[in-house]
Amino acid sequence: MERIKTGIKNLDYILGGGVPAYSLNIVSGSPGSGKTIFVQHIIFNNARDGLRSLYLTTISESQLKMIRHLQEFSFFSHELLGDKIIYGDMGAVLRKEGASRGLDYLVELIKKYLPNIVVIDSLKVIRDLFPDEKAFRAFVFELAALFSVWEITAFLVGEYEEEELTRLSEFAIADGIFHLYGQEEKRFQKRYMRILKMRGTSFQQGEHLFQISPLGIEVYPRLRPGGEELQYEVKRGRKKFGIQGLDEMLCGGLLEGTITLISGATGAGKTIFALKFLLEGVQRGERGVFLSFEESALQLQHTARYLGWSIDGYLADGQLEIKFISPIELDVDKHAFEILDMIREKKVERFVIDSISSFESSVSDVQKYRDYLWAIGQQLRREHVTTIFTVLNEDLFSPLVVSKAQLSLIADNIIILRYVEHNSSVKKVIGILKARGSDHDKSLREYEITAEGISILGRLDKMDMLK
C-alpha cells in the first residue's frame, strides 16, 4: 500500500510505515492540544520530500499568527512556502458564498496547485456553517470522494471533545482519526495521542505519549506489555558477577538474557552488586549501561574507585555508560522508550536499572507500573540483554519479602540482600531465592563490602537469624 510518511519521530513506526495515501484523516483535540503543530510538522516534512501541501484555514486561526508561531520550530522553512506549502483561506468563501460553494472552490484550488496533501483547519468551523447534520454529512462524504479521486491525502483538523468522536458523522466517514489530549499525571502535565481508527493498515493502538519541543512533535510509543507471544531464543551462556562466592552460588553466573531482581534494604549494597556486574562485563569486552535514578555518574565513579574497581577507562571509551535521570525528571513513558532504543542501537549486553522503585513513584498506578516493567522485561529478553533491576525493600529486617507489587513474577532470578542481628551487631546476608532454568545454592551467606570489594563469607549458622 502506498503511504504518506509523517516524518514525525516514531509516528510512522506506530502507523506501520505512514498514513495510507489518499486517506481522509481527522486530527481532533481540544484547544492547545497540538493539532496545528502536528499537521504542520507533517506537511513540512513532506515538502522536503518534494510533496506539495495546501493548507486551508477557516476562521479558527489567522495565517499570520500561525506562521509567526511556526517559525519557532526547526522543521519550519521559509523556502518551502509558496511552492511546496501553500496557505489559503477557505473561510471567506464559505462565509460569503455559503458552505455549498466550498467544494467548487476547493476543486479550483486543487486544479491550480495539484497538491498531494490538503489540510483544512478547522473542520469544526465548517460544520457550524451547515444548517443541519444531514447536509454536513453529505458535504464530508463529497469531500472524502473528491480527495481520493484527486489522489490527495487529507488532514481535517477540529476542536472536538472526546465524547463527540463516537457521535458525529465526520468520524464515521474518516479513514483515520488522531485524537490529541493532555492530562496531569503525577507531577507531569503530559500530552497523549491515540489513533482511534486507520483504515487499510494495522497500527499500534493505545495511548502514546508525545511532546512538543523546538524540534516539533516527538512521539513515544506505548510500551506494550501483552498482545504478542514472547518468543526468543534461549541462550545457555552465563554472565558472571566476578564475585567468586556469588558466581558459585549461581552455578557459574546469571543465565544470559535473563532478568534478575536484586532486592534489599537501604545500604545493603544493591547498587554495588549491580555495578560490579556491569564492570565484570566490560572487562570481558561486553557493553553495559547503568541507568541510575538515585546516584549520579560521579557518585558511582567514586564508589567504584573506593572499591578498587577500574571504571574511568570504560566510561571514556563508551563501553560502559552511566545514565542518570533525576527521579524528579523521570517520565517513564518517554525514558523507557529512549532507553530501550539506546540498548538496541548500542548492542548492550548487560543492563542495570537502579532502582525500579523510582519507576513506581513516577507512574500513576501500580498496574501501569507492572505493565511497564513487564513490557521492558519482554523487550530486554528478546534482545538477549542480561538485566538487573534493583528494588528497595523498605523493611530492614523483614524475612524474605521481595516486593509488594508482585514484581517477582517478571524476574527470572531473585537475589535478596538483608540485614540480620547477631550478638548485638548487624550483619548482611545474601540469598538466592529463585534462578529460573538453573540450579543454585539455597543457603544464606554472609557478605561484606570493604575497600577490597565484595566478599561472600560463610553460611549462616543459626536459623533464627531469619526471624
Binding site: 506539495r52 476543486v107 495539484l114 498531494n116 479521486v149 489522489e151
Partner: protein, 135 residues
C-alpha cells in the same frame, strides 16, 4: 445531424466509456466516478479542449456533443483525445483500487477496445503530461 460515418467513429468510444463507467462505479460509486470523470476531463482538456464536450452525470456518459463538433471539423484528433482520456482514467483507477482490481477492469475493456490501433489499457497507460507536475 451527425452522419453515419462520424456516428460510428464516435460510437465505439462511447460504448467503451459507458462500460468503463459501469465497471468503475461498481467499486467507487456513481458520485466518485463523476468526480473522477471531472478530473480526467480537466487534465485532458489542457491538451484537447474538445473533451469538455463530453457529457456525464450520475446516470452515465454521452459523446453526442463531441460527435457534432467532429461533424463540423472532421480533422479533430478524437482518437488521440479518447486514447489519452481512457489511459489516464484507468491509470488513476489503478491507484485508487489497487492494480489487481484495475487489471480486472482493464481485461473487460480490452475486449471492447480490440479494434483500436493503440492499446489504452496497457499497464500504466499513457501518461498525461499534466501529472508530471505532481510528485
Amino acid at each position: 445531424m451527425v452522419s453515419d460515418a462520424i456516428g460510428n467513429r464516435i460510437k465505439r468510444y462511447e460504448t467503451l466509456l459507458k462500460e468503463m463507467w459501469a465497471a468503475s462505479a461498481k467499486y467507487l460509486g456513481a458520485f466518485s466516478v463523476s468526480l473522477l470523470m471531472e478530473r480526467v476531463v480537466w487534465e485532458v482538456s489542457l491538451e484537447y479542449k474538445e473533451i469538455e464536450l463530453l457529457q456525464y452525470d450520475q446516470d452515465g456518459v454521452s459523446c453526442a456533443r463531441i460527435a457534432a463538433r467532429l461533424e463540423e471539423n472532421p480533422e479533430l484528433p478524437v482518437e488521440d483525445m479518447f486514447m489519452k482520456f481512457i489511459a489516464r482514467y484507468v491509470e488513476i483507477l489503478a491507484k485508487l483500487l489497487g492494480y489487481e482490481r484495475a487489471e480486472e477492469i482493464r481485461k473487460r475493456l480490452r475486449i471492447l477496445g480490440e479494434e483500436f490501433n493503440e492499446d489504452p489499457f496497457a499497464k500504466g497507460g499513457m501518461k498525461s503530461g499534466e501529472d508530471k507536475n505532481r510528485h
